[in-house]
Symmetry: C2
Subunit: 193 residues, 2 copies
DNA sequence: GTCTATATGATGATAGAC
DNA sequence: GTCTATCATCATATAGAC
């Protein structure tokens, strides 16, 4: 009746190890041998699960963006613009604070993707940005928000919020809930009508 | 009467080439041979000007931070807090927009410094942050600004402003002066008393 | 200061045994 | 699916001639 012990699942352990090591040392500075050592196999074994190192990086970044888009799509859009903006702000903070390593390499390692892979991710990134921009433009339209340039405000807000991952630690002086409150107040003022 | 042609100045050309290549491909992904090829010398010649690759990276980042601190120290501090904040905002945008590559590697390549070099730069970074935080706290004290947490607001503003370098291009739709206006308006609202 | 040549070791990826 | 062994290449850094 007991479940059989799950297999070691080398593929997943490899992705996990690569995420940690890429975040700490950078994609180019991490060798396949280091990843294999972290997983507990020899280097040749990794190539049963991934065609090459580049594909491993792309898989990590692609999974991160897909997960982000799926999660934001699940947010309720039926609110008035200001409430939608609050929802987006709190969602973005929670989602990014929960995966600082994936956020970090998604920004840092784009250079190491080939052109085709880069284009795929850039498209997803823009789709996410558009989600926020639509909220801001709806707020402009119904008069609940006021700003000089919705595109610029979109980028400013995302940069401000994502920057949290560079300093926020669970062990720090502020809880994530407190950070959420502080940032929502700043975002609210930024677009005040 | 004419000036003699200046010497090729390999040391400076090396730093210039390294800045471009590190920004484009990342420190770990760039070889000393690539740098030498960009300068137009053989790889051995570089080691007459730098003890090793790590020192080359540190020199670039250290020069960038020292230049930033010197430039901000030259700003006039005699203004009221709101005027000082406007001065800081415009200074930060102009200074960073003028050197996007140095900004980029200063953020990306900190991981590749050894502990001692990292500590030196972190100290300088905090000194810069403190400059802005003092302005915000002065504004809180005299009632011209209002915010939940000056430390958090400091980081939020710097992240928001530095993010400009990731998308601003001279050839784009907005002039730097227009960007300055838009961001100063957003910063002003963010701390509105 | 720059060159050529080299020491020494690590890298990504593959082949074939088990 | 993992192992050992290996290929071919590239890396940083140095030595000594000019």
């Amino acid at each position: 009746m007991t479940e059989p012990a799950p297999p070691p699942d080398t593929a997943q352990r490899m992705r996990h190890a690569a995420l940690h090591l890429f975040a700490r040392h950078g994609y180019a500075a991490v060798s396949m041998r280091q990843i294999a050592a972290e997983v507990g196999v020899q280097v040749g074994a990794l190539y049963n699960h991934i065609p090459d190192k580049q594909a491993l990086l792309f898989q990590l970044l692609s999974e991160h963006m897909t997960e982000l888009l799926q999660a934001v799509a699940a947010e309720d859009l039926s609110h008035a613009p200001l409430a939608a903006l609050e929802g987006f702000t709190r969602f973005h903070i929670r989602h990014h604070a929960a995966r600082p390593e994936a956020v970090f390499i998604s920004y840092m390692e784009l250079r190491n993707l080939d052109a085709a892979n880069f284009a795929l991710l850039e498209e997803q990134r823009q789709a996410y940005e558009t989600r926020l921009r639509m909220i801001l433009e709806a707020g402009q339209a119904d008069g609940s928000m006021r700003m000089a340039d919705a595109r610029v405000a979109t980028r400013a807000i995302i940069a401000m919020l994502t920057g949290i991952t560079t300093w926020f630690r669970d062990s720090g002086g502020l809880s994530l809930g407190e950070v959420e409150e502080i940032y929502w107040e700043m975002v609210r003022r930024l677009v005040a009508g």
